[in-house]
């Protein structure tokens, strides 16, 4: 397998961009990433797109084809990957694999999304059948996505004594990081009191502890070592990347299921094993351990994720995140900086673009270009992202 390097990255600011189509967001962002790499459209040999179900892709999820046909009909390979909200991470992994295998010299990964307002609706045409859990959860109990996360948060309170103030502090940490990030949508600092005063959505989670939905786009251009040296870009290596699905017996309360094959007396299976599996495989591929990771970008759909994920995936002991947070150790200057970008809580989730954005942020961190939010001496960074259907993806970058 050949080594893989990041040649260029770009991300459109997150927000609501009514005047731009999904295709415009995609083209503008990939153009910027190619410019960052010093690569012309005609020299792109492959494009892997995270397929959205909300807009674009010619109705078939053909987002890579649509972009190539719109801008450069150069015969490049088009790959369109699904994976729900993990599709961006899966796209980066797929592009890296194409280069590692020696199939291509320069391949880009792209995620661009325009989100509908409010709770994410069912796909049109889905059957009214109780074997479709995204139908059953609505008709039988009306369980919204925040309700699933709230049940995890409530259980954490029961097991570790996490307080309302600690969940709120995790949310304010993400906002504080976003202050230094011009691409984040929510950059106004908030206090613990502000978070606790925001409306209760699903007890114990308040509005400011749950990610919104946004429009956004991110792109990463990857290449071989030869390509990186020829272009003269700062050397950031894709040291490991992996994708995984969930394991039987996983105790995660997984959207949109209504039951789980887990019980207190049963076998112990890792929580959110699809992401945990990808994180472990990516670390192994990179030949490093959790203690070597200088900065972590994880999918913080809620304040609970900021605390629980580093524990679930072996970066911290169970229950340790609360006091790490209180001591400032999860901040930019801390021992385990989490989401210097500001995370989903500051961006709002542009589903398929999110996993690509995480990689962009780590590249800026490892290049020392993260002005206003730079993690000191960051040399190894890792992403972790979760998608519908028990999809997980993780990328390890090394400077």
């Amino acid at each position: 397998m050949r080594k893989v390097y990041v040649l260029g990255v770009a991300a459109h600011p997150w927000g609501k961009w009514a005047e731009k189509s999904q295709l415009q967001l995609a083209v503008e962002t990939l153009s910027a990433a190619l410019a960052d790499a010093g690569v012309a459209w005609r020299d792109l040999q492959g494009l892997v797109a995270a397929s959205s179900r909300f807009e674009g892709g010619m109705g078939w999820g053909l987002h890579a084809n649509e972009v190539l046909q719109a801008v450069a009909e150069n015969g490049a390979a088009a790959v369109n990957v699904g994976g729900g909200c993990a599709a961006g991470g899966i796209a980066v992994h797929t592009a890296a694999s194409m280069i590692a295998a020696g199939e291509s010299e320069i391949v880009a990964a792209l995620g661009a999304e325009k989100m509908p307002k409010g709770f994410i609706p069912r796909p049109p045409g889905s059957p009214d059948d109780i074997r479709d859990s995204d139908y059953l959860r609505w008709v039988a109990m009306g369980a919204t996505n925040p309700a699933y996360w709230a049940m995890e948060a409530r259980r954490r309170i029961h097991e570790h004594g996490t307080t309302a103030e600690t969940f709120a502090a995790a949310a304010t940490l993400m906002r504080r990081h976003a202050e230094g990030n011009p691409r984040a949508r929510y950059r106004k600092p908030s206090s613990v009191a502000d978070v606790l005063a925001s409306p209760m959505v699903a007890d114990p989670l308040h509005l400011l502890e749950i990610c919104a939905v946004s429009d956004g786009a991110a792109a990463v251009v990857l290449g071989s070592e030869d390509a990186a040296r020829r272009l003269g870009v700062p050397l950031v290596e894709v040291a490991g990347s992996a994708i995984a699905t969930g394991r039987f017996g996983d105790p995660a309360v997984r959207v949109p299921t209504v039951s789980q094959n887990a019980s207190s007396g049963g076998p112990t299976v890792q929580h959110t094993s699809e992401v945990g599996g990808a994180v472990a495989r990516a670390l192994e591929a990179a030949g490093v351990g959790t203690a070597d990771v200088d900065v972590l970008e994880l999918a913080d759909n809620t304040a609970w994720h900021v605390l629980a994920w580093p524990e679930n995936f072996g970066f911290l002991e169970p229950g340790q995140a609360d006091w790490m947070l209180e001591r400032g150790e999860l901040g930019i200057e801390g021992k385990l900086p989490i989401n210097p970008s500001g995370g989903f809580l500051s961006f709002g989730e542009a589903t398929t673009a999110q996993g690509v954005l995480q990689v962009c942020e780590l590249v800026w961190q490892l290049r020392g270009q993260a002005d206003g939010r730079q993690v000191p001496h960051a040399r190894i960074g890792q992403t972790a992202v979760l998608g519908l259907g028990a999809n997980g993806a993780s990328i390890v970058l090394k400077a």
Binding site: G118, F119, P121, R122, I130, R131, Y135, L136, R137, W138, V139, A140, M141, G142, A143, T144, P146, A147, A150, M151, E152, R154, R155, H158, P199, M200, V201, A202, D203, P204, L205, F248, P251, V253, T257, V258, S259, Q260, N261, A262, S263, S264, G265, G266
Partner: protein, 139 residues
């Protein structure tokens, strides 16, 4: 009373039970009936329909303060509790909680399956879903 969906739960003189399945190969219980046994260690994957979940223990809960989208139909909407309930059959299920004010049932409480009315349909019938209530009556 009619059920919010077919093949979901059953009510008779002995009480309310969920309709699920059990794999005769590995003994795993499922709710609702799945396409197949999902245990990767099981090669037999032979399902039989069973009733389950007549009782359980509360593992976690939330109170929803925003009305869910329209696919969830209820006549008298107000914030309500949803629980994650551990069943003696070795699985956990999500269900509405009833028989106590929202947020007033503690983790670890024993629960019994019952039904709650959601809405009256166009033909004047009461449509109900399954829900867990504190065992031994209302708090």
């Amino acid at each position: 009373m009619i059920a919010v969906a077919d093949d979901l739960f059953t009510v008779d003189e002995t009480g309310t039970a969920l309709l699920g399945a059990r794999c005769t190969g590995c003994g795993t219980h499922y709710f609702p009936e799945p396409v197949s046994c999902r245990n990767p260690e099981c090669d037999r994957k032979d399902l039989e329909i069973v009733t389950l979940g007549r009782t359980g223990v509360l593992f976690s809960w939330t109170v929803q303060h925003y009305q869910p989208p329209a696919l969830f139909r209820v006549d008298d909407w107000q914030p309500y509790a949803i629980g994650l309930v551990e069943l003696p059959e070795g699985l956990r299920v999500l269900a509405m909680l009833t028989g106590a004010p929202p947020g007033e049932v503690a983790i670890g409480s024993p629960l019994t399956l019952t039904t709650v009315a959601l809405y009256r349909d166009d033909e004047g019938r009461d449509v109900s879903t399954y829900a867990y209530a504190p065992s031994g009556g209302a708090l």
